[in-house]
């Protein structure tokens, strides 16, 4: 059992263990949500997530897509008058959600992250054209605008060849070690 799993019934303690953040300190002023660019699209807004986390409501949080809508713009954490760090808490909730059930990702957002990390693992850098094509294949969104608009190539905007760094073996090792869940047990 990993650290994350064994404490899933005690969400607030798990978050505290992983990040040092005490979600119970949040006094629900709502300032984080007021400034959040995505809150109008989120069913559970940042302050809701803080409260549900402090009440250990794992199922309600992980049963909703709101955590995946956070852009990590850090506005909430910058503005919290109480020194809380909702952005960090949400990043941690996503990591926990993946550990519980990787299929929970909203398809397009999950496809993006998966394809992005694949690029980094294979090349050491992100090959944007590969990222876009890979994303399109994973999601079937072949005709979205996703940077395929007119003139992208004429403008030299997308490199046609991936660049592979020479430390690629080191990169693969880093991925292997970090993908090993034991290593995720971080304070």
């Amino acid at each position: 059992m990993t650290h994350t799993e064994s404490k899933k019934d005690n969400l607030s303690a798990a978050i505290r263990g992983l990040t040092g953040e005490n979600v119970a300190r949040c006094y629900q002023c709502g300032k984080c949500s007021a400034g959040c660019p995505m809150s109008q699209e989120m069913k559970l807004k940042p302050h809701d997530l803080m409260r549900l986390a402090s009440f250990d409501q794992a199922d309600r949080i992980f049963g909703d897509e709101s955590i995946w809508l956070c852009l990590t713009c850090e506005t909430c954490s910058a503005r919290c008058p109480n020194g809380c760090d909702p952005a960090r808490v949400i990043d941690t909730l996503r990591e926990m959600a993946l550990a519980r059930d990787p299929s929970r990702w909203p398809r397009a957002i999950g496809a993006f992250h998966a394809e992005f990390l694949k690029q980094v693992k294979n090349h050491g850098r992100v090959f944007e054209l590969g990222l876009i094509l890979g994303f399109k294949l994973r999601t079937g969104r072949l005709f979205d605008d996703a940077l395929s608009g007119p003139g992208v190539f004429a403008r030299g905007k997308l490199a046609l060849q991936p660049h592979r760094i020479s430390g690629i073996d080191e990169m693969r090792k880093i991925f292997e070690k970090c993908e090993n869940v034991e290593n995720r047990d971080l304070s």
């Binding site: 809508l69 850090e74 910058a78 957002i109 050491g124 090959f127 003139g151 905007k157």
Partner: protein, 300 residues
């Protein structure tokens, strides 16, 4: 003067002109850029959302490379890269367990986390007196080149340049995280005029630029509308992801909003380059979607 350089993935692709203009202005300002050899992707925008140890390790490998290449200070022009590198540096300094674990994952026991990371805005702000002097010299010398003098621009910091404060303002505060002024200082040094507006720190939604286009369009529209309302003739940015959303997507956003914005989006390095007399082609302005030449006034 020498500074380490972490271009990041976007600067060789969608953000090419950011790199090109940076390479043009650095020597004009007496700065040599020393690219970190064999740098890797910092992990934005995916590693931190999925695996914290991976996000620390990916960023830290670059900081470790800089150390072994005797680079004490690194310029990271992409705001997202800057944020990842600075966040990792901060986390590793504050959390000994994470630091030890990361050294172990990297198999780099000598890594000491000593490298400082800078945004292009902080770097140029510190060079503002030099920029101003050279811009004035250029203006008096060549009366015919395109000029940014008096151009009304909206400085758009975006979300990650000055946030989160405990990271970006550590170990020293380089700007106010809620009311920054560095970009305006650089803009004034070029002879252009920053307008006052209130979306300077809003997020453009870049993290979803492939996966949630409707959100991106909404956030971009609000930024473009406000800039226009404030009387700006152009936007200035310091991030390739912001540039994609505000320049490449501008027409699509405008179409949805049923109007035209016609707001060129300059990288801050391009604006400086223009003030220092570089040509539009040298700076890569031909790669933009919204044409830039209409707002660059030419003296007779």
């Amino acid at each position: 003067m020498k500074i380490g350089y972490y271009p990041g993935c976007s600067l060789s692709s969608t953000g090419r002109e950011y790199n090109e203009s940076l390479q043009v202005i650095a020597p004009l300002l007496g700065v040599t850029l020393q690219e970190i050899e064999d740098w890797n992707c910092c992990g934005a925008s995916s590693a931190h959302a999925t695996n914290r140890q991976l996000s620390l390790a990916l960023a830290a490998r670059n900081l470790a490379l800089a150390e072994t290449q005797a680079i004490p200070e690194v310029l990271a022009p992409c705001a997202a890269c800057y944020n990842r590198l600075a966040s990792a540096r901060h986390a590793l300094a504050k959390d000994t367990r994470a630091f030890e674990k990361t050294r172990e994952v990297l198999e780099r026991p000598e890594f000491s986390n000593s490298v400082r990371v800078k945004t292009s805005v902080e770097w140029l702000r510190d060079l503002a007196p030099v920029i101003q002097k050279k811009a004035e010299e250029t203006a008096s010398r060549s009366a015919t080149s395109p000029s940014v003098k008096g151009l009304k621009v909206a400085c758009y910091y975006g979300c990650l340049l000055v946030r989160p404060p405990e990271v970006t303002q550590w170990p020293t505060q380089w700007d106010d995280p809620e009311d920054p002024s560095s970009m305006e200082t650089v803009v004034r040094a070029t002879g252009a005029e920053p307008v006052r507006w209130n979306r300077r720190l809003d997020c453009c939604g870049a993290g979803f630029s492939l996966s949630r286009l409707d959100s991106v369009a909404r956030l971009g529209r609000e930024i473009l509308q406000e800039a226009k309302k404030a009387g700006a003739q152009a936007l200035v940015v310091a991030c390739p992801l912001c540039h994609v959303n505000l320049d490449f997507r501008q027409q699509a956003i405008a179409r949805k909003a049923g109007g035209e914005f016609d707001l060129p989006v300059f990288y801050i390095t391009e604006l400086v380059g223009l003030a220092l007399g570089a040509s539009q082609a040298q700076l890569g302005l031909n790669r933009h979607y919204v044409r830039t030449d209409s707002v660059l006034e030419r003296s007779p």
